[in-house]
Each structure stands twice: as structure tokens, then as C-alpha cells.
């Protein structure tokens, strides 16, 4: 079978690597000539609104998926008329807009932090007085890894925050005092079958994921089942096909949903070495209508993100339990260039290992 991927970054690269053993040929589409997925699959260059190039790209494909959710709606419409685009339009539409996303999460039964829609500076002032501070102002559309966001700790910060997001339609979210961040990677097949990886614990710095501990420690089965049940409702209502990831704050034993991504996710990278089937393989299986694979963890695993620079490769490779995943991207501050999975390893060793591998956790 032949799978197209919109985007040619590390997620497309890892999808292509997972697709090959399934006998699936991958073609990625990216504006960049050096997009790193191009090392391991066919790469078609073009802009995301270049209909002629997109039409050429779609030829002979059995399905098209994507590695990022900010794809122009016109592009999806045009492609969907030629080839199934999975996950579908609804998953994209809701995840592209933080207001619709919060509503969808709420409808699926998830608790979310207090929030208000903010379309002008006056509404921002009102929202601050309604939900209180600290709060975080985020553009409704676009933005990732902490971009397009501003923290407001004091009412006097409102104007500066509004300017920093260039006065775009936004959402103000209450910043909860949380105990930790968790996420759930789930997958749904064309036939509606669903599977869930165990909840994992994530640490962010400057809005960028740095460490995942999988499975998260001290998660009782009630919490896991609760998360799965709501993910099931969300995916079913979206008619979602493929991997979907939900990020949570844990607040006094409760899960408060923050956002969801209709795709493979950085907090699922541990699954390449730590689960029976990786999130990448399961996404490929799902979007091509194949049976889903087991989401069971093979061992406790930690994932260390390499942001801005590669780790000490020789040290990583000399450690029997660690697996390098180098995306072969030009190092640049704030850029994710690799990750290291350490198998059979408990979370309390994350900082010791990061220091050993010369990974700056920020």
C-alpha cells in the first residue's frame, strides 16, 4: 500500500520507518528540500496551498495523513476528494481552534480548566477578572511548543500579553496548580476498534517537552480507565481514524484535559522501544485500515528529548539500555533534533541519565 504524509519532519520520518516493515511505501509532502523524512521515503516538494503539486503528490496513494494539524482547510478538502485523508476533517477542524477544542473535550466528559474566549483587549480584561490569575493567553489558531502564548500573572501584564500575540483571536485559560502533566496516546481504526497506551508522565520546560516517563508511576486503574473512556467518546464523536493524543494536568488526583493532538505525539516516542507496537506503527495501521497492534508496555521506559543539540552520541550508544533516535536535522536553539529512549529504566533516573548523555533538559 502507499501512504502519503503532509509534512516531512521527524514525525513523518518515524512514520515512514514504521511503515516499511508493514510493506507500506511512504511519500511525504513538504516545502523544504531538506525535510528529514526525505532520507527514508519519497519526498515531494511544494507549498501546502499549491493545488497542482498536491494533486501530483496524491497520485496512487491509498490514504493521506499528516504530521501537524495546521493544514489549510482548502488543502484537506481538495485532497479528500481524491484520497481518504485520515484522521478526517472534524479532527483537524476542532484541533486547529482552541475554543472548539475545549468545547469538544468538555462534551466528551473531560474536565478542563476555566477559560474564556478573547477577541479584543476589553474582553481580555473581563476574562481576567472572571477566571482570575495566573492565566495563559493563547492564540486560538496556530502556535506550538509554547509559541503564540503569553503568561499573565498580574492584571498590568494584560496589554503587553495582548500585543505579544499580535491581537489575534485568542483564549484565556486559567493556570492550574497541578501536581504533574500526563498524556494519553490513543488510536482508533477504520472499523472503530480502539486501543490506548498507558498514561505517561511528561515534563516541559519553556513549553517544550523534555522528559516522558512511561508508564506514569502511581496511576491507578480507575484513572487510566477514566481517561480511556473519555478518549473513546472524543474519538468516536470526531469519527477519528489514527492516533490521537490528549494532554492532561493532574490536579489532586483528577485529570484536567489541556489539549489534544490528532496525530502521533512527542509524548508517545517512548513506544518505539518500550511498547509492543509503536504509536507510529499503530497510526499507519489505523489510517490504512489494518488491525491495530498491542499498546502494552514492554518495560518501564524514559524518553529524553534532545532540544537544540544532539546528545553525546558515543555515550548514548555505549549504554546497553538506551536507544538513539536522531532526526538528522540541523541543530538550532529550541529545535527538537533527537530523542533517547532508555528501556528498563524508572523515571527517577531521568536527570542522572540526561547529565550523563549531555542532554540539556532546559
Amino acid at each position: 500500500m502507499n501512504l502519503g504524509i503532509l509534512g516531512g519532519g521527524q514525525l513523518a520520518r518515524m512514520l515512514a520507518l514504521a511503515a516499511a516493515p508493514l510493506g507500506v511505501r511512504v511519500r511525504a509532502y513538504d516545502p523544504g528540500k531538506n525535510a528529514c523524512a526525505g532520507d527514508v521515503c519519497e519526498l515531494v516538494n511544494g507549498a501546502y496551498d499549491d493545488q497542482a503539486s498536491l494533486r501530483e503528490f496524491a497520485k496512487g496513494l491509498d490514504a493521506i495523513t499528516y504530521e501537524f494539524e495546521n493544514i489549510p482547510a482548502d488543502t484537506v478538502d481538495m485532497l479528500a476528494a481524491l484520497v481518504p485523508v485520515r484522521p478526517g476533517f472534524e479532527s483537524l477542524r476542532l484541533s486547529q481552534d482552541r475554543v472548539l477544542e475545549k468545547q469538544a473535550l468538555t462534551e466528551a466528559g473531560f474536565e478542563v480548566a476555566p477559560w474564556r474566549q478573547v477577541d479584543d483587549e476589553g474582553q481580555l480584561v473581563d476574562a481576567i477578572s472572571e477566571i482570575g490569575l495566573p492565566a495563559i493567553l493563547k492564540t486560538r489558531r496556530g502556535g506550538y511548543d509554547g509559541k503564540g502564548q503569553a503568561i499573565i500573572a498580574d492584571p498590568a501584564d494584560a496589554s503587553r500579553a495582548w500585543d505579544s500575540i499580535e491581537g489575534r483571536p485568542a483564549i484565556l485559560e486559567s493556570m492550574l496548580r497541578f501536581d504533574r502533566e500526563l498524556s494519553l496516546v490513543a488510536v482508533r481504526g477504520v472499523d472503530g476498534a480502539m486501543a490506548y497506551y498507558p498514561l505517561v508522565e511528561n515534563e516541559h520546560r519553556q513549553g517544550i517537552l523534555r522528559v516522558t516517563v512511561a508508564p506514569a508511576t502511581n496511576v491507578d486503574t480507575v484513572l487510566q480507565h477514566q481517561a480511556e473512556g473519555m478518549a473513546k467518546r472524543l474519538m468516536s464523536s470526531l469519527g477519528h481514524v489514527g492516533v490521537l493524543t490528549i494532554e492532561f494536568f493532574e490536579v489532586q488526583g483528577r485529570l484536567v484535559a489541556n489539549e489534544f493532538a490528532p496525530r502521533v505525539h512527542n509524548s508517545g516516542h517512548w513506544t518505539i522501544d518500550g511498547a509492543r507496537t509503536s504509536q507510529f506503527e499503530n497510526h499507519v495501521r489505523a489510517v490504512l485500515g489494518m488491525p491495530l497492534g498491542s499498546t502494552e508496555a514492554r518495560c518501564p521506559t524514559i524518553m529524553l528529548n534532545c532540544v537544540g543539540d544532539l546528545p553525546n552520541i558515543s555515550t548514548v550508544l555505549s549504554c546497553p539500555d538506551s536507544k538513539l533516535h536522531d532526526y538528522r536535522k540541523e541543530p538550532r536553539p529550541g529545535r527538537k533534533v533527537a530523542h533517547v529512549n532508555v528501556c528498563d529504566c524508572l523515571g527517577d533516573r531521568a536527570y542522572e541519565l540526561a547529565a550523563k548523555f549531555e542532554i540539556d533538559l532546559g
Copy 2:
């Protein structure tokens, strides 16, 4: 780093898949436009004696390796003047010639079955009377998966056997009554460091590997260490860099070496899912001068070869412990087109699982 591979079949394909997470870009060289490695890496087409194409292929590479040992010596000489070719000339020279191979195995301390060099039909008759029957006549050079071989059970078969190998320089080997077939996959780094996977048990039909059980059951540590010690001597004497695989007959608890291959090997395919580091990753690490990875088994694993046809994909993917490795090659009788690794699985289930997956073990 950039790695070149002579040959673009499934071994090159799996090497390329293992190389990518190490940040290594792969370029394969093969006469076939549809060589299956081309799905997952750059593919250069050319004949193995086309010096101009080979020179172009070698540009910018840090090392060149190969997926088969029958490479013309001139090709290796020419390439080695441009880029390190690993494993080196000596590993190729000895493994290309069954007489030199037996001598090298003997010098490294391995027991081998009685054998005689056979250059004409008269020598064949003498050899039969000296080492007895049954015996197997094999061409000294070329031949794989049972090709270029003829079994001689009766002295009257000698002439027909000689004709069947077209009177080429040959070797007559005594056919031992063996208890089972085992193999050892070993690897040696540029710095001389060595590592060994556990001995595995192999089943062949019509000269083609069908099943590997890893690790082999009932292997005591003495036998494992003995095999490792001799492999160490062999690799050291060859100045070998990369994976090397030795095939054995087990005869009343003794290991009798049959042949070695200076490359990744079908009996090491289980390592993709069943070992901490796959043979493919370790080969890439070795030939590029990186530290070797752990060769420890993660779990008991069986490998089922799909010869001639693909298995029932849906059944394989529905089994939580099985992993499909489809080479995306046109099915054809006798051709290896895929393999299935089943993790956490003991060898006695091989036939039951093959039946379930609709894999014909021959």
C-alpha cells in the same frame, strides 16, 4: 554520516531502516530499478563491474558495506581505494571460496566435517571413497540458498552431480548426521571490540532457512563460550569489521562449523524485535566506527520466514506478539519476501503459529 551498501535487497533495506535512527544516511547500489531497499534510502542503479557508476556511488560516503559476499574482487579493490570497505577484503576473499573458508574455520579452532577439494570428476570419485557417503558437492564459488549444490547418496550419483554443477571447481563435504542446526551472529568493531548474540536454532527446507528459535534451547554456557571464543579468533584473524555469522551442525553436543557469512544473516532477523540491539544496527555501528550495542536477548523469540508468498497479513497483525517484516518484493517461488518475529514465544509453537499465519514452511 553516510553509508553505502552494495546490494539493494532486503538486507540492505533492513540495514537502512536501522541506520536512520543513528542519524546515518544510506545509499544502496543495485542493478535492479525496483530493488526493495530503494523504498527507504537512496538507490543508485548500476552493474557491479561498472566502475564509473561505482565511483559516482562512492562520492561522499564514510564507509561502504555489502549485503552479499559474491562481489567481484576488482570492484572491492577499486572502491577500497576511495572509501573504507567493511568488512574488508580478507573476509570477502575467504567467504567467497568454500575451500579457503573451511581452512579459515579450522585455523580458528572450529571442527568441520570431512571435506575434499574437487577439481575434476576423477578427484570426485577419489573424494567419495575417502570421506564416504552421503556427501554434498558444492561449487567453491557462488551459490546460496541451496543453489550450486548436489547431494550424493550413492557412488553412481557422482557423474550426474558433477554435471549438475557444470563441472566447476568444487568441494565435497561429508554429510553429518546432526542433531540440529545452530548459528552464531557475532560483531566486531573498528576498535576490535566484539559482541555475540546467543546461539540460535535454525530449520532449513530445500536449503532455505524457514524457522529460527532464539535463543536456542538447551545450550549450556560452555558451548556458547566455545563458539564465541572461536568466532573471536576468526574475526580477529580476518581483521573483520561488522557482523559475521557462523552456521553450525550440532553433533552429539559438539559444534561442527559449516560455513560463515561476513554479513548480517537471515538467522539474525529475530534480533530486530527480540534483542536489545538488532544485528542490522550493530552492523551499521561497527562499520562506521561507533560503539557496539548490547546483544542481549529481550525475550525468547521465533522467526518464521515467508518464502514464495506473504503470510496472512491480517492474522499476523492481529496477534499481539508478532511483528511483520515485509520486504515489499514481488512474490515468486523460493523467494524470501518477508519474515515474522514472534516475541515472548518458545520454539515449540513455531509450526502452530506458521499454520495460523498461513506460512508454508516447506
